[in-house]
C-alpha cells in the first residue's frame, strides 16, 4: 500500500472524529468546575476534544485541497484486488457470533464451531475440502478452548 491515504478516507475519518469530539464537548459541558482543586475534571477533556477537532479540520482542508487538485484520488490502492466484501462479511459474522454469546443462545463450544466453520468456509468460497478442514478446526477450537480455558486456566468463558 502507498504511504499516503486517499483524500476520501481522510475526509471520512476526520468528519467522523469531528462528530465524536463534538459529542464529547457537549457532554463535557455537564462536568462541574473543581471545588477543592483549581482545574477540576472538565477542562482537560474539553481541551483534548477541541484540539482533535482543530487538527481534524487541518486534515480535512488538506484533503479537500488534494482532491480539488485531482491528486491522490487513487492512492492507497495496491496492485492486488482488495476483498472489501469479505472484510465486511467477517465483521458482520463476528458481530452475530458475539451477539449469540451475549444472548447465551447455546454453549461457547457449539457457537465457536459454527462461527469458525462458516467464516472459514466464507473466506475459502465454501470449497468442500476447506469446509471439512474448517469443521474439524472449529470442533477442536470450540471444544478444546472450552476445556482448556475453563478446566486448565480456570478462565470463565461466555455462556460457560
Amino acid at each position: 500500500m502507498s504511504e499516503q491515504s486517499s483524500p476520501r478516507t481522510d475526509i471520512g475519518v476526520s468528519l467522523f472524529l469531528i462528530v465524536v469530539c463534538s459529542l464529547v464537548l457537549w457532554e463535557a459541558r455537564k462536568i462541574p468546575p473543581g471545588v477543592y482543586e483549581p482545574l477540576g475534571s472538565g477542562p482537560i477533556p474539553r481541551a483534548v476534544a477541541g484540539l482533535i477537532i482543530l487538527l481534524c479540520l487541518v486534515v480535512l482542508v488538506q484533503a479537500l485541497r488534494r482532491m480539488a487538485r485531482g491528486e491522490g484520488v487513487t492512492t492507497g490502492e495496491p496492485e492486488f484486488p482488495l476483498r472489501y466484501l469479505d472484510a465486511v462479511g467477517v465483521v458482520v459474522v463476528t458481530l452475530i457470533y458475539i451477539l449469540g454469546l451475549a444472548l447465551e443462545l447455546t454453549s461457547f463450544a457449539i457457537l465457536t464451531t459454527v462461527f469458525l466453520t462458516f467464516t472459514i468456509g466464507f473466506l475459502t468460497r465454501f470449497r468442500r475440502r476447506a469446509l471439512a478442514v474448517a469443521l474439524v478446526l472449529g470442533l477442536v477450537m470450540g471444544f478444546g478452548c472450552e476445556y482448556l480455558f475453563t478446566q486448565v486456566f480456570v478462565v470463565d468463558l461466555p455462556t460457560s
Partner: protein
Amino acid sequence: MELLQAIGTIFTPWPFFYMMIGTVLGITVGAIPGLTGAMLIALTLPLTYYMTPINAVILLVSMYVGAISGGLITATLLRMPGTPAAVMTTLDGYPMARSGRPGRALGLGISASFVGGMVSWVALVLLAKPLSIIATRFGPFDYFALILMAMVLIASVSQGSLVKGLISGLLGMLVSMPGVDPSTGMPRLTWDWYMLNGGLKLLPVLIGVFAVSQIIGDILELERKAERVAMSRSGILMSLIDWKRQAFNLIRSSVIGTWVGILPGVGASIGSIMAYSTAKNMSKTPEKFGTGSEEGIVASEAANNATVGGALIPLIAMGIPGSVIDAILIGALMIHSIQPGPTLFINNADIVYAMMAACLVANIVMYLVMTGAVGFLAKLMYLPRTFMLPTILVFCVIGAYALDNTMLDVWVMMIFGVIGFFLERARIPLGPFVIGFVLAELAESKLRTGLMITAGSYEPLFTEPMSASFMAIALVLLVWPIYGDWKRSRRAKAAAAAPPDDG
C-alpha cells in the same frame, strides 16, 4: 547480586517454561506475516492474571524479544517484514536471499539481532537504576512536561504526518477519560450510562486496536501474493572473519538502536531506519545497499533488537513506555497492581530484575532457537491466512471477555477494532493512540497535583529547569517538522515559478 538471583530464578522450572514458551511464540508470531508482537502480547495478557507477576513479566518480555527477532525470516524470504521493525531488513535480506544465499542473509540477521539484544541489555542494567533515582526527584510539573514531550516525540516520529500522529495520541488520551474521575470521584463523559463509570479498559481497547483491526486489514489483503525464496541453511553461522569485519557496524547500530529505544514511544522501526541510514552513509560501498548488502542487514537487525532493552529503560525508570509493546507491558504491570515508574526499584525490585533477567536469557534462547530451527520457522510463513485469521478472532473474544467476565468488553473490542482499521486506512498511526491512552491518566493527575500545590499557577511549568527543558524540547519537536514542510513547499513553489532551463 539481585540480578544474578533473578537470572537463577529464570532457570527454575516454571519461569524457564514461560521464558521458552514466550520466546518461541514470539519468534513464531514474528515469522508469520500479518501477526505482530503487540497482537500476541495483548492476547496473552488475560492468561497472565492467574500467574505470579514474576512469571507474567518473564513470559511477556520473552515474547517481546522473540517477536522483534522473528520478523527477519519473512523479511528475508518473502520480502514482507513479519513485524514492522524488520522493514529495513527486506531491502538487503531479500536480494541476498534471491541471489542464492538465504542462509547467509538469515545468519547475518540472527547474529546481529543477538548482539543488538546483548548491547541493549548492558545499557538496561547500567542505566535503569541511575535514571530511576533521577526520576524520583521529578516534581508533578516535571512529570507532566516529560509526558507532554514524550507525546509530541511519538507523534512526530510516527509514520505519516505530524498532524495525524498528534490526532492519534490525543484520541488515545480522550478515550481513556470516560468514567469516574479518580481525583473528584465524579463520573464524567459517561452519558449517564452507569456501565461507563468504570471507564474503557485498556485490554479490550488494545485487542481491538492491535488484533481485530489487523485481522480486518489482513482479510482485505488476502489476495496479496508474496515473492518467495526457497530456504537453505548454508552460511547460517557467521565466521570469525565476519564477526571481525562487522564488529564496528554491530556495535554502532546496537548503540543507535538502544538510544532510539530509550526515547519515549519511539519503537524499533525508527531505530532500524536510523542505523541503516548511518551504516549506508559511513560505508565504503554505499552503492551495495539495497542490493543485498551485508552491512545493511547487520545494521537493521542489530538496531531493531537493541530497541527492546533500550525501550525497557524509560518503562522501568519513569513509567514511560519506550514503545507500543512497552505500553502494553505497563498495562500488564497495572493489572498485577504494580505501579510502573521510579518507585518500581524500591517497591518491586524483584519484578525489575526479573524483566532484566528475562531480557538476557530470552535473547540467548532466541539466538539458539532461530539458528537451530530457522528452516522449520520458515515453513510457518505458508500457514493459510483464511484459516488463521478467524481462529485468532476467537482468541480475541476470549481475551476481551476474560478480563472482567463481561460482554461489554467484547463489544468495546469490536468497536475499537473497526475504528483502528479506519484509522490505519487514513494512515493515522496507532502507536501514539495506545501510548496516549496509557499515559493520559498519569499526565492529568500530575498536572492537577501541580496546580493544587501552586494554587492554580502554571508558572513552574515554564520556570523550573527540568519542566522548562522538557517543554522547550516539546516545542522544538512540534515546530521543526512544520518549519521543514513550509521550507520544502517554498522551495517547490520557487522551482515551479523559475523559468525553464533551455541549457
